[in-house]
């Protein structure tokens, strides 16, 4: 190393960094140790993460866990179950029925993408997938509303069942909108909050409308 003796760094340039010397062969094994764990552990870890986020949506407090560790499993499960439950609607002709599976899917995902783009274009600081994650998870109350509506419709489809469904859907719509704005509103510039919240309101309104107007055959 004699050549390096000539190298000198002037005092006023801050030198930063970390030098860690790998200690033996422990760390490579620790990094890849998830390969050796039983499959049940792997699946349960992801399921627990999804479940934790569901709980966050049901009790929307400002927490960064939902934002930080985003995942799209929950939104996918919710979207597919909602679209499946919206099937079997009545149709006189094929043209007049409720939304098809693909239409529900496209509305939810395309709508979430457009809202995310909108908030980013307005100067929001949230990342693309974090926003998709929040919007997707906040569909949970509306999926619960759809489940309740289907159960109520099994009992009958008169005026009383309509009123029950209306109340449930309106309540869940409010819950979804409030939950998603609780998570998303902070990342927006303060004088544009209403501009960002309104499309979210429209998005959940359209989904609520699809749920409310579902009539079985």
């Amino acid at each position: 190393f004699t050549g390096l003796a000539d190298v000198s760094i002037s005092e006023d340039i801050p030198v930063e960094g970390e030098i860690t010397v790998p200690v033996g062969s422990h760390s490579p094994d620790e990094d890849y140790s998830t390969l050796d764990e039983p499959v049940r552990d792997t699946i349960m870890r992801d399921l627990k993460a999804v479940g934790k986020k569901f709980v966050h949506v049901l009790y929307p407090k400002k927490s960064s866990a939902l934002l930080r560790d985003w995942d799209l499993w929950g939104p996918l499960v919710l979207c597919v179950s909602l679209a499946l439950m919206l099937q079997g609607g009545s149709a006189d002709s094929k043209d007049d029925g409720g939304p098809q599976f693909a239409e529900v899917f496209v509305i939810i995902w395309f709508g979430a993408v457009v809202i995310t783009l909108n908030s980013k274009l307005l100067g929001g600081t949230i990342s693309f997938f974090q926003s998709l994650c929040v919007l997707g998870y906040c569909v949970l109350p509306l999926t619960v509303a759809m489940l309740v509506c289907r159960l109520v419709l099994l009992a009958g489809s008169g005026t009383i069942s309509f009123i029950i469904r209306l109340v449930v859907v309106v309540a869940m719509f409010g819950w979804s909108t409030l939950a998603s704005t609780a998570f998303l509103a902070d990342s927006q510039p303060p004088n544009r909050k209403a501009l960002v919240v309104y499309p979210i309101f429209l998005f959940y309104f359209v989904i609520s409308w699809m749920i409310l107007t579902f009539t079985p055959q």
Binding site: D96, L121, R192
Partner: protein
């Protein structure tokens, strides 16, 4: 050229002195000192002036020209370029909506509200809201009209959403494109005072569609008279915004072409509203349910019917 320079420097001088010195200029009390001198100049001088002024920059447009240059300098493949079209605050969007619903006679929507900061937020979300409002209101209105009938089975008519979306977005984007192309073509033939960029035209059209949102909600009322009154009312309001915006752009052209252009604008606007009313809202069959009361003493009682 000397008088042009003089008028340029007039912006920085005391306006009262200048107007007093110039016997041709008429003084009127003004809310916005920048707007009126421009309009006055365009009325008093030959048409080339205002374009020169706009090119060289008067007080207000000077700043905005510079700012516009700085704002939109990002290349079109970066995200920042598209962010410049969403550079509006909540109060600005609300002001623009207000301006489209309450047209002030004599004030140009583009000059007053847009001021070389056209945004795409308003047009896009107003169109989206309008699409869903028309679809939902149409569905509700049909439901109420057919409610009592025993053979009626409610359907959500979801297909109509995609039809509504295609129609309204096509109107809000293709008509401005055609209009912009037409104005550019006329500009090459006749020196027009006022010329609009494509985004400003899209902006005006987008915001002028706002009045149809409450109109569509009120169209749920199943009375023909009410619906047609609403059509006329909303057409007058938003049509006047469009006419006041585009009349200055064509008024120096051949009289017939100017009138034909403005007439086409209003006609397309009317076609959109009447078409939406006809397609999404079923006709109410009776204006008033008219029970004929059987008379006991031979005279017939005639109740209201249309």
């Amino acid at each position: 050229i000397a008088s042009l320079v003089m008028y340029l420097f007039s912006e920085f001088d005391d306006a009262a002195n200048l107007l007093a010195a110039n016997p041709d200029a008429t003084t009127i009390s003004i809310d916005e000192p920048v707007e009126i001198p421009k309009n006055q100049r365009s009325r008093l001088q030959e048409p080339g002036r205002e374009e020169d002024d706009e090119l060289l920059g008067t007080d207000d447009s000077d700043k905005t020209e510079l700012l516009a240059g700085q704002k939109k300098s990002a290349p079109f493949w970066t995200f920042e370029y598209y962010q410049t079209f969403f550079d509006v605050d909540t109060y600005q969007v609300l002001d623009r909506i207000k301006g489209s619903v309450f047209p002030v006679p004599g004030k140009n929507f583009v000059r007053l509200y847009i001021r070389s900061n056209p945004d795409l937020y308003g047009p896009f979300w107003i169109c989206a809201t309008l699409v869903f409002t028309i679809a939902v209101s149409g569905n509700l209105s049909n439901f109420f009209i057919h409610l009592g009938k025993p053979t009626y089975h409610y359907v959500p008519e979801f297909r109509k959403v995609s039809i509504a979306a295609t129609t309204i977005y096509a109107y809000a984007w293709l008509v401005p494109l055609a209009l912009w192309g037409f104005l550019m073509w006329r500009n090459s033939k006749v020196m027009n005072i006022v010329s609009y960029s494509f985004l400003e035209i899209v902006c005006v059209y987008g915001y002028s569609l706002f009045i149809y949102i409450p109109t569509a909600i009120l169209w749920i009322i199943p009375q023909k008279v009410v619906r047609w009154v609403l059509v006329m009312f909303s057409l007058c309001l938003s049509g006047s915004v469009l006419v006041m915006t585009f009349w200055p752009a064509v008024r120096d052209d051949n009289r017939r072409i100017a009138l034909a252009t403005v007439g086409t604008i209003v006609l397309l606007h009317a076609l959109l509203s009447v078409g939406c009313l006809a397609y999404f809202f079923d006709a109410p069959e009776l204006d008033f349910p008219a029970p004929i009361i059987p008379a006991h003493n031979g005279t017939t009682v005639i109740t209201k019917s249309q």
